[in-house]
């Protein structure tokens, strides 16, 4: 197995955890949350400041501890959940639809500006680096075998998260979240506490984002605002949409298609006849072409197959005794 494939698959597994977390918020709870990448970033940044040791001038950042990686991951996840709790408790109380999306867009922008401009926090635009092969020295791996170890670790963690989500998907909690997505009034009429349920789902999603971010920090061994680019964010949302919102198998398929296949195949665009000269014009062309493709896929899927390739299976009442007209708001 080539080193390239190992790297792609590790990234894909981490990406899968990110997508499963987004699926809790967007897929099940039904809220289009634009702040989600912020929780990934919080997870990544926190993992780094807890493991890479004190800042050496001219760098500035908070904490600067040298905790063992697994403990740092736990703290990072808790921090991401705490930030999610703050944003969620503001945004979910009264707001739905585009108003929710706009407030979460604002929240992520504030996080982005703080991380990128407020230097004492995470060293501003330079970002953090220096987390090399966490846990590698526990087992005495060399560079190459560590790559295989990290791939195995990411895949196992992805499988565990997937199993966890599979359990939640069929649980009372998972069902209740979907009820809120379909009809909040009906859920409220059956005694559901809408706000608490939504907030629980939101914090769970944020925690998964933070967890994926902590792994992402180990994969990249660094994190800075440019790892937070719009293209990464849009790929994540398109993966969940293309696969099938609400269906974890669909989300996994979407990650495979958008996160791995499209992301990696666009690397080979310049080798196509005629397109090769284009990329000699300036270096951003390739990234921009990838962006155009992913944006178009997002719009076309929304229009022609909004349920995704593997739609969520819906419960159908075998004996509908009373027809209730759907609410149109």
């Amino acid at each position: 197995m080539s080193a390239y494939l190992v790297s792609v698959l590790s990234e894909g597994a981490i990406f899968g955890i990110m997508a499963l977390g987004l699926n809790v918020i967007w897929g099940w709870s039904g809220d289009f949350d634009l702040a989600y990448y912020g929780y990934i970033a919080v997870g990544a940044y926190m993992t780094l400041v807890l493991t890479i040791g004190p800042a050496v001038a001219p760098a500035h950042y908070i904490l600067g501890l040298t905790l063992p990686y697994p403990i740092a991951v736990v703290v990072a996840v808790i921090t991401a959940m705490a930030v999610g709790l703050v944003v969620g408790s503001i945004a979910l109380r009264h707001l739905r639809g585009i108003y929710f999306s706009i407030v979460t867009l604002g929240a992520v922008y504030v996080m982005y500006v703080l991380a990128g401009q407020y230097v004492p926090l995470f060293d501003g635009y330079n970002g953090l680096s220096g987390l090399f092969d966490p846990m590698g020295d526990w087992f005495g791996f060399d560079y190459l075998s560590y790559q295989y170890f990290f791939l195995g670790l990411s895949l196992v963690l992805f499988a565990l998260v997937f199993l966890f989500m599979w359990r939640i998907s069929g649980s009372r909690f998972g069902m209740a979240l979907r009820t809120l997505r379909e009809d909040e009034r009906a859920a409220a009429a059956f005694g559901r506490d809408i706000y608490r349920l939504k907030l629980k789902g939101y914090v769970l999603g944020a925690g998964l984002g933070g967890f994926a971010g902590a792994l992402f920090a180990a994969y990249l061994s660094a994190f800075n605002p440019s790892a937070w680019s719009p293209v990464e964010v849009i790929v994540l949302y398109s993966a969940v949409l293309v696969g099938g919102r609400g269906n974890i198998w669909g989300v996994a398929l979407g990650v495979l298609i958008m996160g791995v296949l499209v992301q990696e195949s666009t690397r080979f665009l310049p080798q196509l006849p005629g397109l090769g000269q284009l990329s000699t014009l300036h270096p951003q062309v390739l990234l921009a072409m990838r962006g155009v493709i992913i944006g178009l896929v997002l719009v076309l899927f929304l229009r022609f197959r909004p349920q995704g390739l593997l739609p969520e299976r819906r419960y159908v009442d075998p004996q509908p005794s009373l027809y209730i007209a759907p609410q149109t708001a």
Binding site: R93, L95, V103, G106, V292, L298, L302
Partner: protein, 300 residues
């Protein structure tokens, strides 16, 4: 006192540009009930068109006309290619919101492919600052403020006095009812997008002038401020939006003059974050805008 007046002058310029952009955005919202996230790209298109025409002809007037036309055509294309079909298909406002987000991303990247991601420097000679009333303004500032007032007046007359304006208001209040009375809602919405695009394209031109440079992401950043002004004034309410724009313009400029406890000033790079803080507060307290009596509901 003098410093306050200087800041007030800057704020008037910012507010004028913001008012143009926000009124255009709110008109787009009024006829579709959809927040067009790709609104900022209309401004970006206007800026590029103005730059290219200015280079060829050397005339600022030609550049302004080109910016408006480019904006109008881009907005019309947005409506006919994406927003209109989604609405006819019966997509929910949130779905169209996401689709316009995708469209904005596509347009930004297309611009990067053709023009590169680097900043393009673009300045007109602003002329020497002059004392006008209590303010110190350059002739360029005066032109920006005057044109914003003129365009807003023209929009007011179109919306309140013409048959098209009547149709626009009808579609905005109740699309289905408007259609029953024989108004072609799709055509009215398309025409409104063209009109809003003309205004937004021109706003892109004056924004590029006043900032001095632009790049493919320039409109998106300004869109975020536009959104604040439009929501503060009440989405879809053209004249509430004007007040919202002036208010947000004032707050943003004055925020930069506040001296921090440790010395120094609030950096302009926090501007957008600051705008969003205002936005979040407005949405939470009065989601339908500051100037309306409508009660908020949980089920927005």
């Amino acid at each position: 006192v003098h410093e306050v007046l200087v800041t007030l002058g800057f704020a008037l310029v910012t507010a004028s540009i913001l008012a143009l952009s926000a009124v255009a955005f709110t008109l787009e919202y009024a006829v579709t009930n959809v927040a067009n996230v790709s609104h900022g790209e209309i401004l970006t298109a206007g800026a590029y068109a103005a730059y290219l025409v200015h280079q060829r002809t050397g005339s600022a007037v030609a550049a302004a006309i080109a910016a408006a036309l480019a904006g109008g055509l881009v907005a019309l294309a947005m409506h006919s290619a994406v927003i209109g079909p989604f609405i006819r298909f019966g997509a929910s406002p949130t779905v169209v919101f996401i689709a316009t987000l995708g469209m904005s991303f596509v347009i930004q990247n297309v611009l990067v492919i053709f023009f590169g991601a680097a900043n393009v420097a673009y300045t007109l000679d602003p002329g020497a600052p002059q004392q006008i009333g209590p303010f110190l303004l350059t002739p360029l500032d005066v032109e920006i403020i005057a044109s914003a007032i003129g365009i807003t007046l023209a929009l007011f007359l179109i919306i309140s006095r013409t048959k098209f304006g009547k149709a626009l208001r009808a579609v905005s209040q109740n699309r289905e009812l408007a259609r029953v009375t024989g108004i072609n809602a799709t055509r009215v919405a398309a025409a409104t997008f063209f009109l809003a695009g003309l205004v937004a394209g021109y706003a892109g031109f004056v924004l590029a002038e006043s900032v001095g440079s632009f790049n493919p992401y320039f409109g998106f950043g300004f869109f975020l401020i536009t959104l604040t002004a439009a929501v503060a004034g009440g989405l879809g309410r053209a004249f509430g939006t004007l007040v919202g724009a002036v208010m947000v313009g004032l707050i943003l400029e004055f925020a930069q003059t506040v001296r921090l406890p440790g010395g120094g000033y609030v950096s302009a790079s926090y501007n957008l974050a600051f705008a969003f803080a205002i936005l979040a507060i407005v949405i939470l307290i009065r989601p339908r805008g500051l100037f309306t009596n409508a009660r908020r509901t949980v089920f927005e």
